[in-house]
């Protein structure tokens, strides 16, 4: 046990003096959370853009009441519209134009439907939310005026409303925001892989490359303890990377106004512990896989290229999980990587995975780790690995 620790401390000292491994650690910890933060703020600003609306109006002198009402609504600004509204929209000079006809004043005075035109391009994705905002504003004006007219005639306006329809025009942004949330488990697992990588490859393939494996193996220490020490060092780095990522993610989530995007932020202390318990098994397994693979490489660089390919393993299911959420599929839990994605998604969504799922995931990870480490120990005894350079 003591010797395992000696090996681990040496690999840490060696590993953390390597600028490359420090940079990968930092980049892996910052990249994911910052990307999520960027995507969230993009959506938030789009939505804000839809709420703050500038309405180009042609013929504003025809409907002072409507214009007045519009300018009183929050986030609404009325400006003069272009001379040729349809051409302006077609050429994308304006997103949309509100046209008020001459007979508006007369019909409005007579309590007949007063005509207004909304000129827009329905095929344009980016303006759709603004147009629907304008439509709901116009509907609002219409029903408010109608209500007042009924009241003037002694009828309660409530009578004409058979339905009370609430329009929530942010539905699509809410979905997109929730989708971004699903990236978090992937970035957590990927940070485990990237942070553990330098030590996992340097302590195996690197030792072969330098020729330092041969004298090292001459020390009176059982091979399995040597492998265990190196694995422990890589695992420590991987855990550190994941904790950093988790910390940055949580700080970022607490700063973003998630509620405005229609997402409830569930992460408290309890969830934090659950998150760690759900991802920790991968911290055991990821460095073990990396070490095993690196044993076959003759140099640090060769190992890095193998491990780069290995990163595909957590990335592809991670991206898939963003579009096809993995919740409510308990049979996924014991499968490494997929199980972690499923559990982290559930925890962030405010649900605790069943204890049996957590135990199952931990057990498979422990068994696979032990298997890979014993295989790596065998490789460390092979003459081809020790002397093959």
């Amino acid at each position: 046990m003591n010797k395992i620790w000696i090996v681990a401390v040496k690999e840490w000292t060696d590993g953390f003096r390597d600028r490359r491994s420090l940079y990968t650690l930092l980049i892996s910890a910052l990249f994911g959370p910052l990307m999520i933060g960027f995507m969230f703020s993009q959506i938030a600003s789009q939505q804000k853009g839809a709420q703050e609306i500038k309405i180009p109006v042609v013929g504003r002198q025809n409907a002072p009441v409507l214009i007045n009402w519009l300018t009183q609504q929050s986030g609404v600004e009325v400006v003069d519209g272009p001379a040729d509204p349809e051409a302006a929209v077609r050429d994308r000079k304006s997103d949309f134009v509100l046209v008020i006809e001459k007979e508006f004043a007369e019909k409005f005075r007579d309590s007949r439907p007063a005509p207004v035109q909304v000129v827009s391009d329905v095929t344009s994705q980016s303006t759709r939310s603004k147009v629907s905002r304008l439509n709901s504003l116009l509907n609002g004006f219409s029903s408010e005026m109608g209500g007042m007219r009924l009241m003037a005639r002694g009828v309660s306006p409530v009578i004409v409303s058979a339905l009370k329809v609430e329009q929530i025009d942010i539905a699509t942004s809410q979905q997109r925001a929730a989708m971004i949330f699903n990236f978090i488990p992937m970035f957590l697992v990927i940070s485990l892989f990237t942070a553990g990588m330098p030590i996992a490859s340097d302590s195996t393939a690197g030792e072969r490359e330098r020729g330092s494996l041969e004298p090292l193996l001459l020390n009176p220490i059982p091979r399995w303890q040597l492998v265990a020490g190196k694995w422990m060092a890589a695992m420590g780095a991987a855990l550190l990377g994941m904790l950093l990522t988790l910390a940055v993610t949580l700080v970022m989530l607490s700063r973003l106004a998630l509620e405005e995007l229609g997402i409830r932020n569930h992460v408290g202390t309890g969830q934090l512990i659950l998150l760690l318990a759900a991802t920790a098994p991968m911290a055991l397994l990821a460095p073990a896989v990396q070490m095993f693979v690196s044993c076959f490489a003759k140099s640090f660089k060769e190992a890095q290229s193998y491990l780069g390919l290995l990163m595909i393993a957590p990335t592809i299911p991670g991206i898939a999980a963003v579009f096809y959420p993995l919740t409510n599929r308990p049979w996924l839990h014991p499968i490494p990587v997929l199980g972690q994605y499923a559990m982290v998604t559930e925890i962030l969504g405010g649900k605790a995975p069943a204890p049996i799922a957590m135990i199952g995931a931990t057990l498979t990870a422990v068994v696979l780790t032990a298997l890979l480490l014993s295989l790596a120990t065998r490789l460390f005894t092979s003459e081809k690995i020790i002397f093959g350079r």
């Binding site: 020729g211 004298p215 001459l218 020390n219 020790i386």
Partner: protein
């Protein structure tokens, strides 16, 4: 005390070591002399237990290397053909790492490091990182690291290969120092001068076989030559093929 008996090693069809036997006594320097590719390194690897012999046996102070490798390896110190240092660690950290793996107590370890700093003249570089070291400095660090546990038997694979004059002298002095302490030193070389300058006994190898064995004087008498170099050429043949 090292006994190698009937060692064999084959890589595919190629016989690298063919029935090699020799003994290296305590308090003496035994040289493994032979041209490149004669099987010196492979023999040493089997003796220090990282390569499994195809046949034959190795005993270190009476302990069988194949049956009890950890015990036998505790009694040897090895400088393999590559020094194999970690560029980001200091010279001291290298020695401390191996000392800890050998299970040496901290106070004792510090005492020994002080000892090696003096003998190998490491004081100027002991706390510097190895990355910028010269070949001679690297060899010294690797040597100190290899024998930090005071092993009775010391195996050196081409220790002076590529060293400058000053470093070569330092290594030679160390070898004499170890012999004076009554240790068993085995070193391999393809350089005549190294062997003649240091060795009490010479094992001449060629094409995986032991061609001849004895003191320098015995080898001269055997071949009827006046210089060791001529004796060597007559034993292994002008092109390195064993006679």
């Amino acid at each position: 005390m090292i006994h190698a008996k009937n060692l064999n090693k084959q890589f595919g069809d190629f016989v690298a070591v063919d029935n090699v036997s020799f003994s290296a006594p305590d308090g003496a320097v035994t040289g493994l002399l032979g041209p490149n590719g004669a099987g010196k390194t492979t023999s040493l690897r089997m003796i220090y237990g990282l390569m499994k012999p195809g046949g034959g046996s190795v005993e270190i102070d009476g302990i069988d290397m194949v049956a009890r490798p950890l015990e036998a390896q505790k009694r040897i110190g090895v400088l393999p053909d590559l020094s194999g240092l970690y560029p980001r660690l200091t010279a001291r950290e290298h020695i401390v790492y191996y000392g800890q793996l050998q299970g040496i107590e901290k106070a004792e370890l510090n005492r020994r490091i002080a000892h090696w700093i003096e003998i190998l003249d490491l004081s100027g570089i002991i706390d510097r990182r190895v990355a910028g070291f010269s070949h001679g400095e690297r060899t010294k660090v690797a040597l100190a690291r290899a024998i930090v546990h005071n092993p009775q038997n010391i195996l050196l694979d081409e220790p002076t290969n590529g060293l400058d004059v000053m470093s070569t002298r330092a290594v030679r002095e160390l070898i004499r120092h170890l012999r004076a302490e009554g240790r068993c030193v085995v070193f391999s070389s393809h350089v005549m001068q190294e062997v003649s300058a240091l060795c009490d006994r010479i094992v001449v190898m060629g094409r995986g076989k032991v061609v001849s064995e004895g003191t320098p004087e015995e080898l001269l008498a055997l071949t009827g030559m006046t210089s060791l170099e001529d004796a060597f050429v007559s034993l292994v043949g002008p092109h390195g093929e064993a006679a």
